[in-house]
Subunit: 568 residues, 2 copies
């Protein structure tokens, strides 16, 4: 089956399906979204203009049962950062798109103002559907309505009310195997790009489709071998399934890097009650689900279905970054409360991470008191109501800092940081500063490095190495949580690429692809107006010591400036 690229213009309502050109065949996920945006999008266009190309692409390995290899990428010029953006997630969409032979959806143009449309993708056709009935619906209700209309088996990519209102922190939600719209293309406002186009949903019906890997027997053999290796590793085989990503809470808290009350401390007195252990005990005692897989075939199963005290579903999945940023960072120490806020964010289609950072800034400004859960919930509800304050929160942490005159805004390139304070985990500071995407931890999750996190002199080389590897993984659609196994045994990655696609590449060659993608992203950003001045952490983190370790971010500026030495 040839891979196909679908070009959609929502303005002219045209759909063109084409075989993928030769020069794009080896690109998937982030490599493909970033390459297409680099080629086709005017770096000076307004992110909410009809010209901003929205690209949705499954990872290169997607479509098989290979564990943790069915991630979906979406990319565009970001309304939040003004630079290039790729965001990726689990869920079923990448698997289904790959089974349909679709390498990418390229969406441009905009439906007439006020229209609400969807893109229906099946074996028979790709067509534009009017979805007036779903306009304004939260993602949970929208998912129900769309399944009622298009069938229970469809996979969905959804914009929520925040996206429809074109807020810079709106995400796209992807449904998981149970159909819950909780796997988010979270960061950078891609939901607003969709919303500005009038695009409410992509509906993927893969009935009757089948994915044909290049070498089926080799793929099957590798699936088993990879699954076994992941299950045998103590982290991917035991800790992740049991505690989920929340296993990180106590670790980061111990390192003094858990953002607490707008990044004013690095350890939180309520950390224990937010921990992976507490999460596990709570879920298991209430009859929720841990060891849940967010995508087909995953054996790590770090996801969960969090339930309330009565055992009723609250949100799936409750994860570390949200726990850190809507929890500790707001002085909230109850998982039930964080879960409720997370569900609200998911339903509105707004990035729970950026929301946490933005609210932290507002608490510092005195808009509410840290720890005031009812007020936090009401403020997030205001996002959905589109009140001025809700729109301000939906504009992100930097906008909130500007409106309230707050200088302590933990953001880079306009995007709020993840739940690791870079003054305690300095490699993460490099990642935040240097990723073309803004302060994304997933660009190079330095918490996994075997170096002293407080030593400013030992971060550069290993973090750069991580950036290349993660860029590759984002392109393959391979979850970064496999890293302890896949990156430790790169022949597994080589074999997977060969078995699934036929491309016989050495790992070194594959990393060159990562380099090339980063080069393209950086070039786009330069044309959009980014310079080394944007590859910096905010001033206060260079000056203000973070308790309890009392570190500042002191990685030499020269290290920041030679991070991308490979560009030249």
């Amino acid at each position: 089956m040839n891979k196909r690229i679908v070009e959609i213009d929502l303005g002219t309502r045209s759909v063109r399906v084409q075989d993928a050109p030769q020069d794009l065949l080896r690109l998937g996920g982030r490599a493909l979204t970033s390459t297409l945006i680099h080629r086709e999008t005017d770096p000076l266009c307004h992110p909410l203009s009809a010209d901003n190309l929205l690209v949705i692409a499954p990872g290169l390995l997607a479509g098989t049962g290979l564990s943790s290899a069915n991630r979906l990428s979406a990319g565009a010029k970001s309304p939040l950062t003004g630079g290039i953006k790729e965001s990726n997630s689990g869920g079923t969409a990448a698997f289904k798109l790959a089974r349909l032979g679709i390498q990418a959806l390229k969406i441009r143009g905009a439906a007439r103002r006020g229209a609400c449309v969807g893109l229906h993708v099946s074996r028979e056709s790709v067509r534009i559907e009017d979805l007036g009935f779903a306009a304004g619906l939260g993602t949970y209700a929208a998912a129900d309505a769309l399944r009622a209309r298009f069938g229970r088996q469809v996979g969905l990519i959804l914009a929520g009310p925040a996206g429809e209102m074109r807020m810079s922190t709106a995400c796209l939600n992807v449904t998981d195997p149970q159909g819950e719209p909780c796997r988010n293309l979270g960061r950078g406002g891609l939901g607003a790009v969709a919303g500005a186009k009038g695009l409410k949903a992509v509906i993927i019906d893969d009935s009757g489709a089948e994915f044909q890997p290049f070498d089926l027997p080799a793929t099957k053999e590798l699936m088993k071998r990879f699954a076994t290796a992941l299950k045998e590793h103590p982290v991917t085989g035991e800790k992740f399934p049991k505690y989920g990503t929340a296993m990180t809470v106590m670790n980061v808290n111990k390192l003094g890097g858990l953002p607490t009350r707008n990044f004013s401390a690095g350890s939180f007195e309520g950390a224990e009650s937010l921990s992976g252990e507490t999460l596990y005990q709570t879920i298991s005692s209430r009859g929720g689900e841990y060891a849940h897989g967010c995508m087909p075939g995953c054996v790590i199963r770090c996801s969960n279905k969090y339930v309330d005290a009565q055992g009723r579903p609250l949100v799936g999945s409750l994860d570390f970054e949200t726990i850190g940023l809507l929890g500790a960072n707001l002085g909230i120490g109850e998982l039930d409360q964080v879960a409720e806020l997370n569900k609200l964010c998911n339903d509105l289609g707004v990035d729970s991470m950026e929301t946490g950072v933005a609210l932290g800034v507002l608490a510092e400004a005195g808009v509410f008191r840290f720890g005031d859960f009812p007020r936090v919930r009401a403020l997030i509800e205001e996002i959905g109501q589109g009140t001025p304050l809700g729109r301000l929160i939906g504009s992100g942490s930097v906008a909130c800092g500007r409106a309230y005159g707050v200088t302590r805004v933990p953001a880079v390139k306009g995007q709020g940081m993840a739940a690791y304070d870079p003054r305690a985990i300095k490699g993460m500071g490099l990642t935040y500063a240097l990723s073309p995407m803004g302060a994304d931890h997933t660009a190079g999750n330095a918490i996994t490095l075997a170096v002293d996190p407080m030593d400013p002199r030992v971060q550069l080389e290993p973090v750069r190495d991580l950036h290349l590897k993660y860029t590759l993984m984002d392109s393959l659609g391979l979850c970064i949580f496999t890293g302890r196994v896949s990156l430790a045994n790169p022949e597994l990655i080589e074999q997977a690429v060969r078995a699934v696609t036929g491309w016989q590449a050495s790992f070194a060659e594959l990393l060159e692809l990562g380099k090339e993608v980063l080069r393209r992203e950086r070039e786009f950003n330069r044309s959009a107006g980014f310079t080394a001045a944007h590859d910096r952490l905010p001033e206060f983190m260079l000056r203000e010591a973070l308790p309890p370790n009392n570190g500042v971010f002191d990685v030499p500026q020269a290290d920041l400036d030679r991070f991308y030495d490979f560009e030249t």
Copy 2:
């Protein structure tokens, strides 16, 4: 009398008065503010941090009765643009500072959070005063309170509530000869820089002081000659005194460049009722004052004291940019209404121009209907109340556009445009795009050029020439409205510089100073992260034709990129 530079640290409450060093002696106004900021301010500092140096400097020629030569500059890293900012105004402050022999006030540090302090400058001393009694007061009440405390004769530079709340569009107000705080260092948020330092006011008492020009007889002779020349010119001698800057309304409307309803049209059906003629008739029939001088010695006297139907003072002075942006741009066609809004902005200490642009964006977003005066007034009042929407408006047009997902935001480098649409007056588009300050018309007021405003090919050279000349005038403290006389007879400028300061410079040498200042400003901006991508107009102005002329901004990009050829 030696010129002195006063260094103030509001954090340590230290004041150091020093003779101006040799290498700064020929710098005044913008040349001095920009040079000091270029030398001493970290381009990556947060604009609201204690490190952001706020420089206040009278123009080089200030202190004498030379007409229109007593303008005051203030500069800092801008909270609105993130780049270097110089803003200048009339009023009495520059005259008084110069008489006190003060070349610049360099203000850094910040008073403790919540404190409200002032800087009292007199022949005896420069000292920091606690001004708790003035905290939170509007600029009119604050001016009264400060005069009651420090004497009726003082000149004032004031931050209003918007500055105290650290809003990015807060201005600094300078009192005019009658003590009204209506001459604004308007653009770029310098009031927020002051507010972040806890600085409410600079109080200037020049009792007993006298300015000694280098050559008193020559200065006196020149004063007369310059005044005569200004009076004899039909624009500076007749039109400006009678109609004020509002004389521009009908001209710009006729050119199809009067921003109407968020820059969606270039002519306004209510233009006539906003015109200079209407202004003159209204003021004169009600017993207000036209031909008012905003600063000591000015013979142009383009300022006015606008009064209501009962003859009670409403605002002084009602000027073109405000009429365009709070009037036509919001669909408001009544001078009385614009005057009321202007007064409100002055009292809050917020830039009336940026407020007009921001409100235009909000009207486009549907927050209110164009022309709804009571709602506009209520929204400006919200700035003072610090409501979320008020703070958003106080954050400027770009922030409003982001929060409400509006792509039509007429701004460059984060700052809203003046009241000339660059699709009809294309030279102004060059000025907006290329000024290091953002979309300032005063960087090169292209409306004065004798070229076809719609011809994209003839703008570059004359606009560049204007930028150099205006940078010089901003440094001399010479009002740009003298241009028709002073720039037409540059020997007058040479003679003024020699008579007042002793510097025997040719006009060509003086223009080199303008170049050097622009170079320094551009270098600061580059270090702060600005590139050619920021020297562009917003996308919609390149695409969307502006009625009635139906022009787009089509000055070639290559022209934009070679504007600063002299840099290399």
